[in-house]
């Protein structure tokens, strides 16, 4: 349960530490929790993740515990991927659709044991989960407030955690998870993240939060550890090519205007759809879309210049063919990247388009018509992200 009966705006289990570290006092509301947008300076935080270690409090992420003898079958009806392929102790990136085949949310599923899973996602989806559970022997518990989580990301993240005594953590494979003893309790570490770098997410009971934070920052002192806010994370995930629910697509349940939600194919996430399994939500509509073609294509754009093409219109010749949903100058890749949704006819690799970028300098708005090109994939994918054993920087 999320204790909104106690307070309008909630504090995460790491709040006292975040508050102390948040020098610029810039906060935002994340699904009812107050979380730092910036701690010190965006670029410093960004570079901490790319060069040493950044720590991000992801406790507000919605979490559901799904257990019972039909939990696997239930999840398979909920999501578009085939969960039967997920082994115990592994994590999977998934999404789920409504009956029209439009994406309701994406998230990660942790298979904790044979019939015990944790789903982490952006939206609060209990109603949909309960309706979907109809007929299955499954128990679904909201555990957002019961599980605290920190993302520890960056080249030195493995070394920091090792220094904390989590021996053997370097052997953890991407999308794997492992348990470690800490301060008389157990916590779970998964090799997952939203930065595209070597990194881990640490899941623990809320009462361990402050002790863990302190121990982590102690251990990380010599490894350049730094807390990061959501602004830096946004740059990191754009550079790594990760979509953000509510930004790059409107969760189908939250879309009010018709036609504003998107299918997995339209988000470039067709690889997450498996038709080779029992009935799942959206199956029929997605089969139809596969046969008839999609309306939109999700593309990565390499935009000329260094002005982030935020919210820009996208043109082909002088026809408007789409909009940009996320954009950032990516310092490591040294590329001006944008995510765009364009008319499916203009979504193939190498397609030249034009972004109409507006920006303001001292009360003067300027417009740039920047040429851009549809590129193959994310611009940042370092080898260390996948290497096992994890490199020791």
């Amino acid at each position: 349960m999320i204790p909104h009966n106690e307070s309008m705006i909630l504090h995460t289990p790491f709040h006292s530490r975040c508050e102390a570290a948040c020098e610029v006092n810039l906060w935002e509301d994340w699904k009812g929790y107050t979380t730092p947008q910036v701690f010190t300076e965006i670029d410093m935080e960004y570079f901490a993740v790319r060069n040493s270690t950044g720590v991000f409090d992801l406790s507000p992420m919605t979490k559901y515990r799904i257990s019972g003898s039909d939990s696997g079958a239930f999840i398979n009806k909920l999501i578009t991927r085939d969960i039967r392929k997920l082994a115990v102790g592994r994590v999977s990136y998934v999404l789920w659709c409504d009956g029209e085949g439009k994406v309701m949310d994406d998230g990660t599923i942790f298979r904790l044991s044979e019939n015990d899973y944790r789903l982490c996602c952006y939206t609060r989806a209990l109603d949909w989960l309960m309706w979907t559970a109809e007929g299955f022997d499954v128990t679904i518990c909201e555990e957002t407030a019961e599980v605290a989580a920190l993302a520890v990301q960056g080249p030195t993240s493995c070394a920091v955690l090792k220094a904390m005594g989590f021996s053997g953590i370097e052997l953890l494979k991407p999308f794997g998870m492992a348990y470690f003893n800490f301060s008389g309790s157990q916590l779970m570490v998964s090799r997952t993240g939203f930065t595209g770098d070597l990194g881990y997410e640490v899941w623990m009971e809320p009462n361990l939060g402050e002790i863990f934070w302190d121990a982590l920052f102690d251990a990380g002192k010599l490894y350049g550890i730094r807390a990061i806010g959501s602004s830096a994370l946004d740059m990191l995930r754009i550079e790594a090519g990760f979509l953000q629910a509510g930004v790059d697509f409107v969760p189908a349940d939250e879309a009010i205007r018709s036609g504003r939600s998107r299918s997995p194919f339209e988000l470039g996430l067709g690889w997450l759809v498996s038709f080779d399994k029992p009935v799942f939500n959206g199956r029929k509509a997605l089969l139809k879309e596969r046969a008839q073609g999609s309306r939109y294509a999700f593309v990565y754009l390499d935009v000329e210049g260094n002005k982030p093409a935020e919210h820009a219109f996208v043109y082909h010749a002088d026809i408007e063919v789409g909009t940009i949903t996320s954009a950032a100058w990516c310092p490591t890749a040294k590329t001006n990247i944008a995510f765009a949704q364009v008319d499916a006819r203009y979504g193939s690799k190498g397609q030249s388009l034009i972004a109409e970028i507006y920006y303001e300098r001292e009360l003067k708005w300027t417009r740039v018509m920047a040429s851009c090109k549809v590129i193959d994939g994310p611009v940042f994918a370092p080898a260390r992200r996948r290497q096992t054993p994890a490199p020791n920087f």
């Binding site: 009806k77 009956g99 949909w128 309706w131 109809e134 007929g135 029992p278 009935v279 199956r283 029929k284």
Partner: protein, 535 residues
């Protein structure tokens, strides 16, 4: 037991009138069809039961008033033993003082009815018939769909719109206005006589969880009187010789003559599905029947929740099925009588009428109130038939059966029907005795069927005779719910027919005919499997 080794194009679940009408149409088009009926006799809600030694009664539907004439001709029912024992039966609404009112079509007599009311009733009737005529066009085809309209659907919608437009300014305005409002207000606008207002109100709420003040009860009235446009024996209600079961029997005989196999006592356990395609039906005894097309004339909840199972349906459908409103609020009372009943102030010649107990609209509304809170009416309304007056075969010589639809009796009775049944039955007899003082002395046996009994006996979820409330949110393209409104379901090859689909309940047969039309219009060539699995 039927030789199930033969291969079928279509398996029809449920041998009620819609299932049989559908099977007949399909057989005529050359399909090999089997009908699976869970009970020991065909007919579904068209059933005759001997509830006491030598006393038989139509145990579910009691009047015939909406059966489409084309069903009778297409199935040659008259050659197969179907016959009416009485038709154009007048309705007499009983008054506590004995000053009753009788309705003969659009004529009124008794109860000191004024000339003004007589005239007003004629014009009310005329207008209602115009509206029914417009709506009836939509009943004989599949409903238009909300999205992805085919050209035919667009034409049908345009046709309906044109018909409404052609009613003329004043009638069109009235239809738009009356369609959504409640019958109580309309009655107050039109008439003075309490019995007349109540009689029309009864027709507006019978079989539903509504009182005269509930919205869209005017639609309920139009719906009921659709039979006056296309119903066999119209206008008014008729009785089937031998009880409604005889209609079921004659339909069964007719479909057999067309080459359809009927297997009785064949209880379906589930519909077998390969991801999203129907592959056949599995019976409770373990036998599996393969077919590329399965028609379920069972109600939507039984079909989707029991036979298909929510795990095989996408969540949207699960949610819509669950939200279909179909909790019965009507009970059925059967009494074996030692002699001809004598109602206070009622001429003997009128005893065979359709008799209503509902002296005024407030009475009906007050009868409805407790059912909203899970209690039965303290002063219930009744729609009474004494069929043995017209059909001597139903009771021994000189003796009679009384059959009554009783409202309101909520499916979810507070405290349960096991405890509530006897008190309700006693209350009903007491209520009858106010109009029929000798009832207790003449009663030989009483049977009360609560909605729970009707659910168990006639296998309809919630004991709702219409397989779902008839209200504007659950008719036409919304019946039983958007997405399944054209008899097709999310599972390829599985069709939903029966009262739960358009045009709805009442012994009409149109849902069955429309389903067959829909199946036959599918261009895909039917594949006939050539083997049969026994597991």
């Amino acid at each position: 037991m039927t030789d199930l080794k033969s291969a079928y194009d279509v398996v029809v679940i449920g041998g009620g009138h819609n299932g049989l009408a559908c099977a007949a149409s399909l057989a005529k088009a050359g399909k090999k069809v089997i009908v699976l009926e869970a009970l020991h006799s065909p007919g579904g809600a068209c059933a005759t039961t001997e509830f006491f030694e030598q006393f038989s009664v139509s145990s579910c539907a009691q009047w015939l008033y909406q059966l489409d004439e084309s069903v009778i001709s297409q199935m040659s029912l008259k050659q197969n033993g179907f016959e009416l024992s009485a038709r154009n039966i007048p309705t007499t609404i009983l008054s506590e003082t004995g000053n009753h009112l009788t309705i003969f079509g659009d004529r009124l007599a008794g109860a000191g009815i004024s000339e003004k009311d007589k005239m007003a009733f004629k014009s009310f009737n005329k207008q209602m018939m115009k509206f029914c005529d417009v709506l009836s066009k939509a009943f004989k085809r599949r409903p238009p769909s909300l999205i992805e309209r085919s050209f035919g659907d667009v034409l049908a919608l345009l046709g309906l719109g044109m018909k409404i437009k052609m009613l003329g300014k004043s009638d069109m305005r009235d239809l738009m206005r009356l369609g959504l409002i409640n019958i109580y207000d309309v009655m107050e606008e039109n008439f003075d006589n309490d019995l007349l207002k109540a009689a029309i109100s009864v027709d507006s709420v019978l079989g539903s969880h509504m009182g005269p003040r509930s919205p869209n009860t005017v639609f309920g009235y139009l719906y009921r009187h659709m039979g006056d446009i296309f119903g066999y024996g119209r206008p008014g209600v008729s009785l089937v010789r031998g009880g409604m079961g005889q209609l079921g029997q004659s339909m069964a005989k007719a479909v057999k003559a067309l080459g359809v196999d009927i297997e009785l006592n064949a209880v379906v356990d589930r519909i077998s599905i390969d991801v999203d395609k129907v592959t056949g039906v599995i019976l409770r005894d373990g036998r599996e029947l393969k077919a590329g097309i399965v028609v379920s004339s069972s109600d939507p909840k039984t079909t989707f929740e029991k036979f298909v199972g929510p795990v095989n349906l996408e969540t949207d459908t699960v949610r819509r099925v669950k939200n279909v409103r179909m909790k019965g609020d009507a009970a059925k009372l059967h009494i074996a009588l030692d002699g001809l009943p004598k109602f206070r102030g009622l001429a003997e010649s009128r005893t065979g009428d359709r008799l209503l107990i509902a002296p005024n609209m407030e009475y009906i509304e007050r009868a409805f109130n407790p059912s909203k809170y899970g209690q039965f009416s303290k002063s219930p309304i009744m729609d009474i038939s004494i069929p043995s007056i017209h059909d001597s075969g139903l009771a021994p010589d000189g003796k009679h059966v009384l059959s009554a639809i009783v409202q309101y009796a909520p499916y979810d009775l507070e405290g349960g029907w096991e405890a509530g049944k006897q008190p309700f039955q006693d209350l009903l007899i007491d209520c009858l005795s106010q109009y029929y003082p000798d009832i207790k002395q003449q009663t030989l046996s009483v049977e009360l069927l609560t909605p729970l009994d009707i659910e168990q006996r006639h296998l309809m979820h919630g004991g709702h005779w219409h397989h779902g409330e008839i209200s504007l949110d659950q008719v036409l393209m919304m019946r039983p719910f958007p997405g399944v409104s054209q008899y097709r379901t999310p599972i390829d090859g599985l069709y939903l027919s029966g009262a739960g689909t358009h045009p709805g309940g009442g012994v009409m047969g149109l849902a069955g005919l429309n389903t067959a039309k829909e199946i036959l219009s599918q261009k895909k060539k039917l594949k006939r499997p050539n083997f049969y699995d026994s597991t």
